[in-house]
Symmetry: C2
Subunit: 331 residues, 2 copies
């Protein structure tokens, strides 16, 4: 596999290797189904439950793969440094705990309290900072400098080992839902969806892959239409707090090559889909994951979905701040 | 097996027969675990997820067994009549839908809207009535009379076929958690816990069985202390809307023989346990099921739990009216 400094996306073989590497640490998450949601929308839905993954999201896969490989390539134990408002932060802190390493996490001021507390519970050191990317990056540089030459930054998505770890979700989907013909995944920085694209398109190229994105974010939708990476202008405001990252430089080319479409979803659609998934599947789905549900409910209106019958929706996480969710909309 | 009119509790063989009868219709629900809850309380917890059962609760098992047996013993198709504020109502309506039968359900005025709507979605006819038992019983007699001689009442718990169907949860627990040494189940009319007692105590008598009951209900706790069935004086007020039935005449002797203890839980403990289970297990647990979680968190304080290590908590249902849950308590 490419050295992380090489900045080359992983291959399907790198993803298979990642699957072996992380196997002792991760859960092979189940697929759930719902006849009532199937009847409502005319598809056979298969929900890949990464909300049941360790630390409550898929992020643990990529992080464990990246950190394990960092350790292999060094004589001294690394000191992990990361920035994240939530799920990646928890994954880095938990990985550090399991590996006996230190984790220093920069968390912007909009990070949910429940996620900050979880990082601390796993033994991570949390550094607050402002909300703008220059502030976050300057805080990270400060923390890295403080920690000295053993400090290693684990990027949340623009890292081939992280992408390879997330891609193991795609391998499992192909094993668990062999008849799958479309996959719907929420996109943020693009680590998960790019990993899934590489794994699935290499093995079963006919599978269509759809990205779900909040309308209030939109850089992925605009980039997809423009066929080039369009930067994000300001921090977007959405209930899906896990979906506010700009698309990565390493992930974008993979998406441009493989995505079937980007499906924008409104805030109202995300909230309705969140409650519907709670009620029908009896599982806790975070707003970022609900964006994928919402997109899958709109799939039937897209001409590219003609012929699609078996749709796998990736439930990317279940970390919700239950004290601050908006009330259920009246129907 | 005893004829339903015989009013004799089922045997473990009746429960094994029920398991065969309902196998094509039910889900074999999974067991979930949580290292964080284990660390908090010092047990190995195994959560038996009947919230993922069809219709969102264990009730479907007993109902399907009872109705299948009613059909076997008749020349003309029965017309199903039942009373229930929620989960039994949904189970009867769904069973009727699958068997091509009619279901007429008397639902008292305190029934959650979400459960009434679900019964209607399954094609059941709903009859509103007041909240007091005499009103409910008189409404049932009226409905039965209207439906004529083919009307058959499916009692929610005082019916040996229903008890046998619920007892299949116990058989599955022994298969899925062979090292189990205690089971915690919420109790209402007693159909589920009596079925579990008969199945588990017949096969592995060393297993301790604990009933969880809201303090605001209390007839099971008082009956257990008094060693005789003590009637309920008025309809109890608790967030656990599924746990307000008085203990049955057929279920009580089973409980008296087999229960290790009854663990009362407060409303605050139920609500906290509900949110904790949502956050840690990422599953939707209804307040009645949260009562069992709350009781299992108090188990370590009971002298009867000395030596207990592997505790199975039955998650009896996941039907929550999300529009009307109390907010998460601040910690």
């Amino acid at each position: 596999m490419a050295n992380p400094l090489d900045d080359v996306p992983p291959t399907v073989d790198d993803i298979r290797k990642a699957a072996e590497t992380i196997k002792p640490f991760i859960y092979r998450t189940p697929i759930m189904t719902s006849t009532s949601l199937d009847e409502m929308h005319g598809f056979n839905f298969y929900f890949k439950c990464e909300n049941f993954q360790r630390t409550g999201s898929f992020k643990f896969r990529g992080c464990m793969n990246a950190v394990t490989n960092v350790c292999l390539n060094r004589d001294t134990p690394p000191i992990l440094v990361a920035f994240s408002s939530g799920n990646h932060a928890q994954a880095v802190a938990k990985t550090a705990q399991l590996k006996g390493l230190k984790a220093h996490i920069v968390m912007p001021s909009y990070s949910p309290a429940v996620k900050i507390n979880s990082v601390k519970d796993f033994g991570g050191s949390v550094y607050g900072c402002g909300t703008l990317m220059p502030e976050i990056m300057s805080k990270i540089e400060e923390v890295k400098k403080e920690q000295g030459e053993n400090a290693v930054m684990i990027h949340p998505y623009d890292n081939p080992y992280v992408m390879a770890g997330q891609g193991t979700v795609g391998l499992e989907i192909l094993e668990q839902v062999p008849n799958v013909d479309a996959i719907v995944v929420a996109v943020s920085g693009g680590g998960l969806i790019s990993g899934i694209c590489i794994a699935v398109k290499s093995i079963k190229p006919s599978v269509k892959i759809y990205a779900a994105e909040p309308e209030n974010v939109g850089d992925k939708y605009r980039s997809f239409l423009a066929k080039k990476r369009i930067p994000m202008e300001s921090r977007p405001k959405t209930i899906a707090d896990g979906l506010t990252a700009p698309i990565g430089s390493l992930t974008w080319p993979v998406l441009q090559e493989h995505l079937t479409d980007v499906i924008p979803v409104t805030e109202e659609e995300i909230i309705s889909a969140m409650y519907l998934s709670w009620e029908r599947l009896k599982i806790i789905v975070e707003p970022s994951a609900a964006a994928a549900f919402a997109a899958s409910f709109k799939l039937k209106h897209l001409s590219s979905s003609i012929g699609v019958q078996n749709v796998c929706v990736v439930v990317c996480g279940g970390n919700v701040d239950l004290a601050s969710i908006p009330p259920k909309p009246s129907t």
